[in-house]
Every structure is written in C-alpha cells, then in structure tokens.
Point group: C2
Chain length 158, copies 2
DNA sequence: TATTGTTATACTCTATAACTATA
DNA sequence: TATAGTTATAGAGTATAACAATA
C-alpha cells in the first residue's frame, strides 16, 4: 500500500491534477497562445519575421501611413518597445518611414513597394500555419473561438 | 480631396484595419492572454507571485511530491527555466524540496504546511481576478471558451 | 498642457546546448 | 541508453520613467 501510493505520487506517467488551472481563462489562453506561436518562427523562417514583427507589417500594409503611436495603441505594444522593432524592420526593408505632411512630430509608416508581395506572402504563411495548428477545431469552432477571444480582450464582436 | 485623404490616413482617431490579424487565433489568443495576465501581478501584489510562479505552486499543492520534470511537462515549461523559479519559490517558503525515496535522481516538490493556506488564498485571488477580467462574457461563454482553448492546445476536452 | 517619438533600463518569459549523477 | 536535475547563455517580450520637439 505504501509502495503503491509512492508510485502514484511520483511516477512521471501519473496523471497530474491541473483542474484548478484549467478553470482559468488566463492559463488556458496563455497555453493556447504558446501552442499557436510555437510553430510560427519555423513557418516564417524563410522570411525571418517574429510574431510581433509580422503583426506590425501586416497592419502597416493595410493602413499605409499609420503612425508609430497609433500602431502601438492598435497592437497593445508600449511605444518604447516599438522603436527598436521599427528600426530593425526598416533596416531589413520591411518598412519605410516618411515624415508626416502636417504634423512635424509624427512619422508615417509604409511598406516599400518591392516588399508588398513579401508581406502578402507572410500573411498567407501566417494564416496557413494558424489553420494547421488549429485543425482539431471545426471551422465553426474557430469562428466562435475568435469571437469569444475578441470579446474577452475588448474588441466588441457583433 | 487630397487633404481629406491625408486625414483619413494619418489621424490617430481613425479606425485601424486589423481584420487580417483578427482572423488569426494566434493573435487573438495572445491579446486575450495579455489582457488577462495584465492585472494578475496587481491582484497578486500582496503575495508576490507571478503568473508562472502561481501555476507552479497550485500544481504542487494538488500534486504533492511531483517532480520538477513532471511539472515542466505539465506546464509546458522548459526544465532549465524551472530551476530558477523553484529555487526562488523555495527561498520564499512557497516550496519545499524532498529527495525521492526510490529514485536518487529525482526530487519531490511540496508546499510547506504553513504556506498551504497562502496557496489557497492565491488560488482564490487568481480565480476572482480571472472572473473580473472576463465579466463581459456569460458563464456559458466562459465555459465554452475554456473548452475550446483546451482543445486547441491539446487538452482533449469531452 | 498634451502628444509623438525616443533613450535608458529592468524584469519576465522562453529556448537551446551541454554537463552530472543516476536509472 | 535514457532520464532528472542543473549550468550557462541568449533572445524575445513587456514595463516604466523621463526627455526633446512639436501641437
């Protein structure tokens, strides 16, 4: 009896009780985010974009001339953290900065014309990878999940 | 017309098009995780536990004697990263390490008796904070969301 | 006064290679 | 050979305070 209890307690194969954590949206969403982002770098290896870098270039592509500040608000990134990311992306030709025509403080962000097709390619890769890593869910479940997540972090979904 | 276009492009109040990102579970789950974890440190300020530290002590409480390796597998933490976390938690009396009775390589983790009530308190705080940060969702939506997230990262839910 | 972009800084989290003691 | 714990190290990601230039 004692030996058996010890085996139950310490064997690596033993089922670990994680019921409390699994009742927390914070834990589950962190685990899900890790799972989805794990393969991202591999999938994006040829293009060399990190998840955050990808989110920047795709938003800039769909919002040409967006300012650093607006981008920070949109992606919930602290403005100081954006500085290095933008500098690095600009050095790698993913971004171009142009002075704002009316506001001398602001700088508009753009995708250099030759890189636009690369950004589109990155968007395809990101989408395919996202789909591949969530293939255990039906299309309906994925839509539901996206809507619930957006509702959770403040994007009011219809 | 030109001036109007410029305003649409660069004004900070302009609605930013993020439709592509919002179709990605990776993006939405990262945003949701950030939203939920943002308040965690504040809520846990008195006890001084980070989200990862909390996940460790609660799993140890519900699985006394669990090894570092099993904990790493359970929480998807790399074993080397657990070393410093466990050492720090042990110094702060949140954990106790005891040699495994049969396997001289392994070390079992336990909550020191005087700290058990603190861990329970931390669990209450974590749960309340999680609920507070997801109050825009109904109970039913929260259950659905938890199940979909678990299914996504590999915890097969019924 | 408020906002944009920025510097400096620190802390948390995650990842990989390689070692040792033991199984 | 494989596993448990560990060391060392690096790189992302996130956070805050404070500054100059401009609005």
């Amino acid at each position: 009896m004692v030996a058996r209890l010890s085996t139950r307690e310490l064997s690596p194969e033993r089922v670990v009780d994680t019921r409390l954590l699994e009742g927390l949206l914070g834990y589950n969403s962190r685990r899900a985010a890790l799972h989805l982002i794990a393969g991202f770098s591999d999938a994006m290896a040829d293009l060399g974009l990190s998840p955050v870098e990808f989110s920047i270039v795709t938003v800039v592509r769909h919002n040409p001339g967006i300012t650093s500040r607006s981008l920070a608000r949109t992606l919930a990134i602290q403005p100081p953290n954006l500085v290095g990311l933008i500098r690095s992306l600009e050095q790698r030709q993913w971004l171009k900065r142009k002075p704002h025509p009316n506001d001398k403080r602001a700088i508009g962000l753009h995708i250099p014309t030759p890189s636009v097709s690369l950004v589109k390619q990155a968007e395809s890769i990101a989408y395919e990878d996202d789909q591949a890593r969530s293939k255990h869910l039906t299309s309906d479940e994925k839509v539901k999940l996206n809507n619930l997540l957006m509702k959770l972090y403040g994007k009011v979904s219809a």
